[in-house]
């Protein structure tokens, strides 16, 4: 690959490398402004949003293409002082942990636009401009390396979500939006306080410096406990972790599909790994047993409730609780293999959830209801929808050679061998339950004789735009199931065991490149 660019000069490439993350942040924002300024005519907002998100996605693809896999630490880093005192910097960068999450966010953006294409008919300017703002904030969350900057993006990401849920809800949007906002906004306040307290202690918002300082200085244990807890609570609600999942069922039930597919999971799970486990290894170890228990309960609880939902978006919500809890289990199992599996599973679930939202949204658009009982026998009328749905369902179930299996197997096996056999066995029961609720859903929607509702509408199978959105997702499920090494190669460079001792590379110039090879898996 290198030789292609030698002739043109390395400088051009480095220039792009040095500004790519800024571009990724600014392009959706520019698109949002453009949508807001131009008139809402002839699907103009749709096209601008689609083009913007496609360009952004292509920009995000630059990252894995030029990511140097055997170089630990952050790459494509930009670190410019922004506000001198307190020292807030525009510090962004990606490592193996965030790399693919940025790409996933980029991929799901055009998918979301295509899924909204016909679903959003009114106030398109508001919808698409907020949607694009939302993209910027999510990218920001994944790449920000300054805690204040991160907090700004984190907080800002809640606003467009809440507004879009309120405006475009199916039945009672404002109520669901209020619930979502309260659940996610309230724990953010302690997070801000905690970040400010850390600043007061260390005089820095910089993630790498802070991680280094927290590992090497001693701070009051009681205060650190509460600070870590404030971080954890904010993230746990956003995942959501049992029993903090109260918002997710209503949000999934009401949110427009483009929002629903990004609202849960990856932001919170990433933040846990980066900022809770990453900054507070000692406090993490303290609270890990509780988190493991909650995670396993969440796996089973979510699956059981998914079994008895009558609304398919709510079913999806509880399935999400179950799947994200499994990732939480891997994160707090504190094994390297588990963390690799966790990152992989975030990607896999993100893709599957995206596909599921597109498919169920397509059904909702055609038949005007989310009540499972009204459906039936659709496979004969909408064969393509049925095929895509079954593949996505099988991925969710964790069928081998599809992406879901790799993550689940790595997580469960590392939990079994490295953490706790009992919890691993309990969590593995979710394997049976996920098959039960997903296959039952498939049957009730697509098999059996055609329902009155199914016969009452003209059979319109997936349209071109929907196929364009879904096909890459389905192909990814296959490729990620067969060749996970393509992803693990880079993910591996991003997950380190947390530094534990004072000697851990104290003489290194850049704290972010500290070789964190202290904790070896299996030494529990």
């Amino acid at each position: 690959m290198e030789s292609i660019f030698v002739g043109r000069g390395i400088e051009t490439m480095t220039a792009i490398d040095q500004s790519i993350l800024t571009l990724i942040l600014l392009v959706p924002l520019a698109g949002a402004i453009l949508v807001a300024l131009l008139p809402d005519r002839a699907k103009m907002p749709n096209w601008i949003a689609l083009l913007t998100s496609l360009v952004t996605f292509l920009l995000t693809l630059h990252l894995p293409a030029h990511f140097i896999a055997d170089q630990p630490g952050f790459q494509f880093e930009i670190n410019r002082p922004w506000i001198p005192n307190p020292a807030i910097a525009y510090h962004v960068g990606v490592d193996g942990l965030s790399l693919w999450l940025v790409v996933l966010t980029g991929l799901l953006a055009p998918v979301g636009v295509l899924a909204s294409w016909n679903a959003i008919q009114s106030r398109r300017k508001v919808f698409y401009s907020l949607f694009l703002v939302q993209q910027t904030t999510m990218f920001g969350v994944f790449i920000a390396l300054d805690l204040m900057l991160y907090y700004g993006f984190w907080e800002l990401s809640l606003v467009p979500m809440a507004i879009l849920i309120a405006m475009y809800g199916r039945k009672d949007g404002p109520k669901a939006a209020l619930k979502f906002f309260l659940f996610t906004f309230i724990p953010s306040a302690p997070l801000l306080v905690a970040i400010l307290w850390l600043y007061a202690q260390t005089r820095t918002f910089d993630f790498a410096t802070l991680r280094f300082l927290l590992a090497h200085e001693s701070h009051p244990a009681r205060a650190m406990f509460w600070v870590a807890l404030a971080f954890l609570a904010a993230f746990a609600v956003k995942v959501p972790v049992f029993p903090l999942h109260g918002w997710i069922a209503d949000t999934f039930g009401e949110a427009p599909v483009a929002m629903g597919m990004v609202v849960a999971g990856k932001l919170g799970l990433y933040s846990m790994l980066r900022f809770h486990v990453g900054l507070f290894p000692a406090q993490t170890r303290q609270i890990a047993p509780l988190m493991i228990a909650l995670a396993v309960i969440g796996v089973l609880y979510g699956a059981c409730l998914a079994l008895v939902q009558r609304d398919f978006f709510k079913l999806l919500a509880f399935a999400a609780v179950s799947h994200f809890s499994l990732v939480t289990l891997a994160i707090y199992g504190l094994t390297l293999t588990g963390w690799n599996g966790a990152v992989y599973q975030i990607l896999s679930v993100g893709i599957v959830e995206g596909a599921m939202f597109v498919l169920l949204g397509a059904l909702d658009l055609r038949f005007g209801t989310t009540q499972i009982a009204l459906y039936g026998g659709l496979a004969a009328r909408l064969p393509r929808t049925a095929t895509y749905f079954v593949i996505a369902a099988l991925t969710m179930i964790g069928l081998p050679l599809l992406s879901g299996f790799v993550g689940e197997f790595v997580i469960l096996s590392s939990t079994f061998t490295g953490v706790s056999r009992g919890w691993a066995i309990a969590a593995a029961l979710g394997v049976i339950l996920s098959a039960a609720y997903m296959l039952w859903l498939v049957q009730r929607l697509f098999y059996g004789p055609e329902s009155t509702l199914a016969l009452s509408r003209p059979p319109v199978d997936l349209r071109f735009g929907e196929l364009v959105a879904l096909t890459p997702l389905v192909l990814l499920m296959l490729v990620m199931g067969v060749a996970p090494s393509l992803w693990f190669r880079t993910i591996q460079t991003g997950v380190h065991p947390p530094p534990r001792s004072l000697e851990g590379g104290a003489n290194q110039v850049n704290p972010s490149t500290i070789p964190n090879s202290i904790r070896v898996e299996g030494q529990r």
Binding site: M148, I163, P400, F416, V431, I432, Q443
Partner: protein, 651 residues
Amino acid sequence: MNAPSNTQLGLWLIPLLPFAGFLINGILGSRLPRWIVTMVALLTPLCSFAIVLSAARTFFGIAPALPAQSYTETFGQPWISIGNLHIDFSLTLDQLSLVMLLIITGVGFLIHIYSVGYMHADKGYARYFSYLNLFLFFMTTLVLAGNVLLMFVGWEGVGLASYLLIGFWFQKNSAADAGKKAFIANRVGDFGFLIGIFLLLANFGTLTFSEIAAKLTQNPDWAGGVLTVICLCLLFGAAGKSAQLPLYVWLPDAMEGPTPVSALIHAATMVTAGVYMIVRTHFLFDRSPFALGVVAIVGAATALFAATLGLVQNDIKRVLAYSTISQLGYMFLGCGVAAYSAAIFHLMTHAFFKALLFLAAGSVIHAMGDEQDMRKMGGLWNKIPVTFWTMTAAVIAICGIWPFAGFFSKDAILYAAFLQGTGGKVLWFVGLVTALLTALYMFRLWYMTFLGKPRTHDAHPHESPWSMLGPLVILALLSICGGWIGIERFGSFLAPVVGTYSMESPIPHLEIILSIAAVAVALLGWLIADRFYRQRPEKPAQLAAAFAGPYKLLTHKYYVDELYNAVFVKGLLSISRYVLGWIVEGAILGGAAWLLGGIATFSGAILQRWQSGNLRSYAAWLAAGAAVILFFAVMPWLLGAHGIDLRWTGH
């Protein structure tokens, strides 16, 4: 262990060719002309079969002096490789997988041909063949897998193919239900398998069969303990896939699928995967006499249990389904007494005669115009003679009457059981009783279907086309001659993989005595069937009336489905709905959230304006939200600019 590594036999083509067939017919099938669909569907398994044959020739031609060799090909990059977890796409060919491959691709190809005739009028023709090819992909992967996880890939994959094919006529609720039931029952078993895999990983640090075996060889004293637990987990998985007690419930319902599917997947190949798995991991079971005992008991109990149920079924396919469960029980019994080659021998002959039974039953159903109830059949023997004579061969074979194939293999298992002490003699006796029942229900089927007078005059039976009869004839020849190779030669062929077991008997001529006993019992079963279903057809009804209680128990299949439904399905659903859904989610967590929301709404009545629904108020909210963010973003700077220090704690 390994053959010269420069010989590339192209093992990966064996699964990938059917996979290509699946892709072509699955994606393009509905738009392709039918003859192309047929050619793709037939040629891919045929090519695989040819490769298996040529691989066998090359493999055993290189160094026949080295009987212990196996040949491994690793395909492409490692599949999963993180930390100490390292799993390859490695395929292993040895005597055991060779026998399995010959059965799978050979019998599989015959059933593909048969399907061309059987499914010719179905509008899902291309979909059917794509699923069938998908099944072959996963099944060949399962038997070629060089490590446990790759085997698990095939294992779950054949479950998927089975799910899709049982529910092939998905517009029938019963078919969709049966498919789902099969998948979930298999998943329950797979849960055990998965735990077994974790235990293997934890104790051996590898999932490669040869490395596990090597580690066991290095530790000759290691027995029982965790190995027993591993074996029981694997057995649980095997019981799911091979429809053994207590997980057999899905197989009778699986008869909802097209009949060739029942022949291929639910008789000849997929359901034997559990037997194959135990034999493949026999080095583990050999170290745990307890686990082996459990395998034997599960097998014998299932054999007898299913045979009793076969006695009272009136659906021709369901009789065969219970007989499959029962015969799989024999194979488990063979495994349990460590007579692995006998189990695989029976697996092979069973593949021949049971595939034949199903295909012939399909031909009967075809002739009767989709009628499966044997009470409406009768007198078919001269109307569909080829079907009749081939089916007769299969019936005699399954009853174990000399010199048909089933005699040799079943005899080998029963003889091996008899040699295993007192417990073994009990198991042998159970097997003998099962043989009696087998002959009884099989000849019952035979009489009700083919002999006597036609019981309905609506149907106009007609013989099936030769695309269906051809496979019947070939399978009939195999059902007759398939056992003539004999257990000694078959066993010594498999010995490099599965080892040998003692066939020395303390009593002279014991084997012949036992053989005569088994054949006599089978003939007795035939005589009873002859008396009940030919000479005195009123007798069965009288018996049923005389033993009303046991008869009801049998026709209701011991109420196991009802029990499972009440305990597991209903139990899980009610706990989920009422305890978790209403109490935990609704009352406790919902109440807490309601309180939180109430406080917030009260303190911020302005939030109510959200519900006003007009654009201006949303815009105002957007602005307010942005202002909040801006405030948070610049607050530290503002504070700093005014000289307010954030150093609160005084450090």
